[in-house]
């Protein structure tokens, strides 16, 4: 207790220096917390709009579909495989899908688009799609219909109630032709998807593409999305050989690579900030020990072991770092929360760049405590590393020389 009391009082002997050092920790940590929040918020948003709302965390296909995603590699999906997948504790639901492409036509205009056959009751009740309807209604299993995306509707000049013709190729080369009434329009955050996608009821899609009883993929909805890797591994162990199971990282390696490469550049920035913190603490620790050599000499003379002096100075430096860390966390969290509620929205060229990569032009900030625990911990570890050399100096103090200082 005494050591903590002395350490706390000691750091205020030179108030200015303590505040400057704590200030360097404060600003650097605040920047790093906001940066981490922006990075993780952006990645989470990318994953949410691409994975959670669209592809799903895990998909099951006919073996070979991932490498050659054509209707020829579609699968028959029976109760046995369905029961097996649902037997996993983390699997909540199975969402059957048919994903293919077709030429669409309305009036004088034509456009190739992605056509996705889904179970409306499962697919359109998800928050990711449910909240994005901007006009009309979702198709349902009874009446069918077509749900198209906003940019596509604008390009084709289609409104709710119009009918779009599809001309394409079905299973085993059969011609796929049909006319479908638009029941609703959605706006998707992913610009690429928003400019050319149509959802239809899965039985309609099976009929259009001559795929009775067949699916291209089954999306596994999970109770805990963060457990997707473990769940994939568990299910892959006993999956029949004619199927393949892939998580989103394997399904969309380009998204993962993009996140990883962006994350690397963020890590370099963080490293620079931490080096600044490290040298600030190192300098203070060096001064605090160098100017108190005589004091330490006296302490050793009267019977204080060097190890206790080392603990004392370590506590002092940890206190200074903690002052900066606590102040930084208290100041950063309101800013992070504000940016979480009001994400940065890009406009102009920046927005175009984002959209060119297929992402919504916003930069949300993550509001998840686990993202922010690491940074203060790193600052504490840096503090401990930065004081090693000054503490080594205490270990080597020669009492007689110290007393003469």
């Amino acid at each position: 207790m005494e050591i903590l009391k002395i350490a706390w009082r000691n750091i205020w002997r030179n108030r200015k220096r303590t505040l400057i050092t704590a200030g360097s920790v404060f600003f650097a940590l605040m920047l790093s917390l906001i940066m981490v929040g922006l990075q993780n918020g952006t990645y989470d948003h990318m994953i949410k709009t691409s994975v959670d709302d669209f592809y799903g965390y895990i998909q099951v296909h006919q073996k070979g579909y991932h490498d050659d995603p054509t209707l020829l590699n579609s699968m028959e999906f029976n109760d046995k495989i369905s029961d097996y997948l649902l037997s996993d504790e983390n699997v909540k639901e199975l969402h059957p899908k048919i994903e293919t492409f077709s030429l669409s036509a309305f009036g004088e205009k034509t456009k190739g688009i992605a056509v996705i056959g889904v179970n409306p009751e499962l697919e359109f009740t998800k928050a990711g799609l449910k909240n994005r309807l901007i006009e009309g209604n979702f198709p349902d299993s009874e009446t069918g219909g077509l749900l198209i995306t906003q940019k596509y509707a604008e390009f084709m000049g289609v409104v709710v109630g119009d009918s779009i013709a599809f001309i394409g190729q079905g299973y085993q080369g059969v011609s796929a032709v049909g006319l479908y009434k638009v029941t609703g329009i959605i706006k998707l955050p992913n610009p690429q998807l928003n400019s050319g996608l149509a959802y239809m009821e899965i039985k309609q899609a099976q009929e259009l593409f001559s795929m009775q009883g067949r699916l291209t993929s089954v999306v596994l909805r999970l109770n805990d999305n963060s457990e997707f890797k473990e769940t994939t591994e568990r299910l892959a162990a006993n999956l029949p050989a004619s199927y393949e199971i892939l998580d989103w990282e394997k399904e969309m390696p380009e998204l993962l690579q993009m996140i990883e490469s962006d994350s690397k550049s963020g890590q370099i920035m963080l490293m620079i900030l931490y080096i600044v913190i490290g040298f600030g603490i190192f300098g203070t620790a060096l001064m605090m020990t160098a100017e108190r050599i005589k004091e330490f000499g006296v302490m050793i003379s009267v019977g204080m072991q060097k190890s206790k002096i080392i603990i004392l100075v370590s506590c002092e430096m940890i206190f200074i770092a903690l002052v900066g860390i606590v102040a930084s966390v208290l100041a950063s969290f309101p800013i992070i929360y504000y940016l979480h509620i009001n994400p940065i929205v890009f406009t102009g060229e920046m927005a175009k760049t984002y959209e060119a990569y297929g992402f919504e032009a916003i930069m949300p900030v993550a509001w998840q405590l686990s993202y922010y625990l690491k940074e203060p911990l790193i600052v504490l570890i840096i503090t401990l590393i930065a004081i090693i050399y000054p503490l080594w100096g205490i270990k080597n103090i020669q009492v007689v020389k110290a007393l003469k200082k």
């Binding site: 002395i6 009267v302 007689v400």
Partner: protein
């Protein structure tokens, strides 16, 4: 009863080109309850001698035996622990811990000795009252005069009940009135607690109060007078 025995003590500094014999063969012993002044000109070897007596410096040759323990043979941790339990120090520049109050400074060494809080507090108050600072228990060193700080240092040195106290020029930085007051306090505590005091000093007022005067010059004992 002998508490310190010094046998054939040498300290030779070899850092410079010409070796310096700071202590050049001293044989002495000190009895329990002595009030001894070590005098001599600057550079005579007083402080080096005192440092070796307190285990702060290792002799080049010879032995310092305190209560049967040759402190030159102890490792650095053991010698620090030995000082904690057996030796009190009073420095010329007081050297109190600036962030602790007078009472906390006196308690500090007892805390290092792991004494319980109640005993520590009671002893600290008793010692500060004995040096006439019962009304300044909660003052920090910066709020005390030089003389008062040195009295706190004496209380600190005595509080842990050491076998002897080494005081290096304890009156060098304080005024005459404070010097007389401090010497009277130390004499009284010497009699009351039977603690051995060994001073190194230039101050004639300290010498006048001493009951044994050892004169050192060129690292050797020139005279040893018991009064």
């Amino acid at each position: 009863m002998k508490i310190i025995e010094i046998k054939d003590l040498y300290k030779i500094y070899t850092e410079s080109e010409i070796p310096v014999n700071a202590v050049n063969g001293i044989d002495l012993s000190f009895e329990q309850g002595e009030f001894t002044a070590i005098v001599g000109p600057s550079g005579s070897g007083k402080t080096t001698f005192l440092n070796m007596l307190g285990g702060l410096d290792k002799p080049t040759k010879g032995e310092v035996i305190v209560d049967g323990v040759n402190i030159g043979l102890l490792n650095s941790r053991q010698v620090i622990d030995f000082r904690l339990r057996n030796i009190g120090f009073v420095f010329q520049a007081y050297n109190l811990i600036p962030v602790l109050t007078a009472k906390e400074n006196v308690e500090f060494i007892m805390q290092l000795q792991n004494q319980n809080k109640n005993d520590r507090e009671a002893r600290a108050i008793e010692m500060l009252q004995a040096v006439g600072l019962g009304d300044r228990l909660n003052s920090r060193p910066s709020k005390l005069s030089g003389g008062q700080q040195q009295r706190v240092a004496v209380a600190r040195a005595l509080a842990s009940k050491p076998k002897f106290i080494l005081a290096d020029e304890p009156t060098a930085n304080i005024d005459s009135a404070s010097t007389n007051n401090l010497l009277e306090i130390m004499q009284e505590l010497n009699k009351k607690e039977n603690i051995t005091f060994i001073f190194s000093t230039h101050d004639q007022r300290v010498v006048n109060k001493a009951r044994r005067i050892i004169t050192i010059d060129d690292g050797k004992v020139k005279s040893d007078v018991k009064l």
